[in-house]
């Protein structure tokens, strides 16, 4: 019997190798894996840096850290009308190394003097790779924190959603009749509802924390369109000869449902899971941007802060407040999507090139 276990292990290893080789063939899938892997690394990097003491929590904590950025500034008096010979438009004054005298409330400095001031948000420097935000917190640390949030939220809601839709889809396929009709109508209803406005409404009723959002997204996603697709897959499995064989042998319906049909529907469900992570990450960032989410730090919140403090229309002057967060959302969501495409080729033999 031990020999069996050895053979079983080697078979599993061989099949994992084969699936990996097939996955590697998909360029899209590989790009996706690299992207997702990069962000995973980021989300694990932060606690590592804190635990090992490389980063001082006081300075680098994404929520409560504060970093002083002192710098020499030339005091100027910004004119009322533009353009002048020194400045082309209003946004050019004060320039990077200048400070408008009207914003100095506590100092006796005069125009033309150089003063040593603390200014947030600070541009990227050796100490802070991506600079600091208006509250003096390290942006890079915030990105890493946001990465953790994105992963947790994405995977949690995806798992929940997929669990629900697989169960419902399989039940609909298996029992047919009224059960099927009801589940399909329910699915149509959910499909028809626009998700974001629904989330706005929910946020008005109760305070949305990350967990709440994950549950809501998971449930809505799970009850929606994927039920229909899983049901059609389950229907195909239901008519296969091995299911007939189990019926003839005398298996009960429950037994056949869980031990025969479900495992064969699972690969498709896994695929859905990967795709729904994309939606979850995007939804979270939208909600945070609108300030509807009760969360300490996330990418959407970073952009929210930038907007609230008025930095969004500053163009490239304060790019580190907006670009890293925005690009992270895009890339991670896109990365998961690409992984899903790669997985699709592994699971769906018809899409394979060879």
């Amino acid at each position: 019997m031990d020999k069996q276990k050895d053979i079983a292990k080697s078979i599993r290893r061989a099949s994992i190798k084969k699936n990996w080789a097939m996955f590697k063939q998909s360029k899209l899938g590989m790009i996706g894996i690299y992207i997702v892997g990069f962000f995973l690394f980021l989300s694990l990097l932060q606690p590592f840096l804190f635990v090992t003491g490389i980063w001082n929590k006081g300075i680098y904590d994404p929520v409560v850290g504060y970093s002083e950025q002192f710098q020499d500034f030339l005091v100027v008096d910004c004119p009322k009308e533009y353009p002048t010979e020194k400045y082309k438009s209003r946004t050019d004054c004060p320039a990077r190394n200048e400070i408008n005298i009207r914003t100095l409330f506590y100092s006796d400095a005069q125009v033309g003097e150089t003063i040593y001031q603390n200014l947030q948000p600070a541009p990227p420097s050796k100490k802070h790779i991506l600079g600091t935000d208006p509250l003096g917190r390290d942006v890079f640390s915030q990105i890493m924190e946001g990465s953790q949030v994105a992963f947790i939220l994405g995977l949690l809601s995806a798992t929940l959603g997929v669990g629900i839709s697989t169960l419902l889809g399989t039940i609909a396929a298996f029992y047919g009749g009224r059960v099927d009709a009801y589940l399909m109508r329910q699915s149509d209803l959910i499909l028809m509802l626009p998700t974001l406005p629904l989330l706005f409404i929910i946020s008005a009723f109760s305070e949305l924390k990350v967990w709440h959002l994950a549950v809501v997204l998971g449930t809505i996603g799970g009850l929606g369109g994927s039920v229909i697709t899983i049901k059609s897959q389950a229907l195909q499995v239901k008519v296969k000869p091995f299911v007939d064989s189990a019926r003839i042998t005398g298996g009960s319906r429950m037994n056949i449902l869980f031990s025969h049909v479900l495992p064969n529907v699972a690969p498709l469900a896994l695929l859905f899971m990967v795709f729904s992570v994309t939606g979850a990450i995007a939804s979270e960032s939208v909600l945070s941007f609108l300030g509807l989410l009760n969360i300490d730090m996330s990418w959407g919140l970073m952009i929210y802060l930038a907007q609230v403090e008025g930095y969004i229309f500053s163009g490239m002057k304060f790019w580190w407040l907006i670009l890293p967060a925005g690009l992270s959302v895009t890339f991670l969501a896109g990365g998961f999507y690409l992984v899903g495409r790669g997985l699709d080729e592994v699971f769906n033999p018809r899409l394979r090139k060879r």
């Binding site: 000869p241 007939d244 064969n264």
Partner: protein, 317 residues
């Protein structure tokens, strides 16, 4: 003394087909239109016919997969030593009765669950019927793998179906089917998707097991040559009816019904010097005659054990 294991009388299976989404008219497709036959213990009956003749529908009805529309199907009940209709069985009794009937399917690639390993696939019937304890069950799987020629069994038990060839998968199906020692096995063209050189070994295996375990087969095929190799008796089906039924050699040497004659004369012979005489037949005429004779017509016994359907075929002879 050869009892009958199975007695079928006027088995009918009709399907309702609606002619449109909004139409209330439902036309009836008579897939199986009143067939009768017996299968004695330990003997095998071949059911031969072209696609659409109703042989697969018959198989599914007899293996209790799809319910029949009407007719009587009696199985021999060992506890009461008498024939018992399957209509009387339900619930737990029906489940226990299912031990006696099994089915082997045509497609070796679709008849095994791709996510289960071989051991679990063969274990399943024992688990469903709660036979013995875990150790006994694993022993039984081990033994039956040896019997069907998949040795050494340890190499096969942890494997998954996609790692085996078509012939090996059919052996697994046979092992799973026969581990419960059923009395009646329906075989739906189990070798038609296998390579020619492997077919014989599978068929020989089935013949040997039938002898050892006293199993009766209902062997469904479109290939008369295979039916000849596997079966004691052959029934020829056309459009849902049995047109002729006889012992194998008798049927092949002395066919009476025009359809049987046409069928036999269409089969290519693996001998370039053999001159095959084609027996011509107007099929639309035959169709009409059979459709018009949908009452229960008794079959005429032209010779001992050789029955022919008695619709009026003189017009096309």
């Amino acid at each position: 003394m050869k009892n009958n294991l199975l007695e079928v009388r006027n088995l009918e299976k009709y399907f309702e087909v609606s002619s449109g989404i909004f139409s209330r008219n439902k036309s009836i497709v008579k897939a199986v239109d009143g067939i009768s036959f017996d299968i004695p213990f330990g003997s095998s009956l071949g059911l031969v016919g072209q696609s659409g003749c109703g042989k697969t529908t018959t198989a599914r009805a007899l293996s209790l997969l799809d319910p029949k529309t009407s007719g009587t199907v009696n199985f021999y009940n060992e506890e009461t030593s008498s024939m018992q209709s399957i209509d009387e069985l339900e619930g737990e009794e029906l489940r226990k009765f299912r031990r006696n009937i099994q089915m082997i399917f045509q497609d070796p690639y679709e008849s095994l669950n791709p996510r289960w390993n071989i051991k679990d696939i063969i274990l399943e019937p024992l688990n469903i019927h709660n036979i013995g304890n875990l150790k006994d069950r694993e022993e039984a799987v081990y033994e039956i793998l040896k019997t069907v020629g998949l040795t050494p069994p340890e190499n096969y038990m942890p494997r998954y179906p996609h790692e085996l060839s078509g012939g090996q998968r059919q052996r697994v199906s046979i092992a799973r089917t026969l581990i419960m020692k059923p009395k009646f096995v329906v075989c739906d063209e189990p070798t038609s998707m296998l390579d020619v050189s492997i077919r014989i070994s599978i068929m020989d295996l089935m013949l040997n097991l039938a002898k050892d375990l006293e199993v009766s087969y209902l062997y469904i095929t479109h290939d008369l040559a295979v039916a000849r190799y596997m079966c004691d008796r052959i029934a020829v089906m056309f459009n849902g009816k049995i047109v002729e039924i006889a012992e194998t050699e008798e049927l092949l040497s002395n066919p009476i019904h025009p359809y049987t004659k046409r069928l036999i004369s269409s089969i290519p012979i693996p001998d370039p010097s053999y001159k095959r005489e084609r027996y011509e037949l107007d099929f639309s005429e035959l169709d009409n005659i059979i459709a018009n004779n949908s009452d229960e017509l008794p079959m005429a016994e032209v010779k001992s054990g050789h029955y022919v359907a008695t619709h009026d075929v003189k017009g096309i002879l």
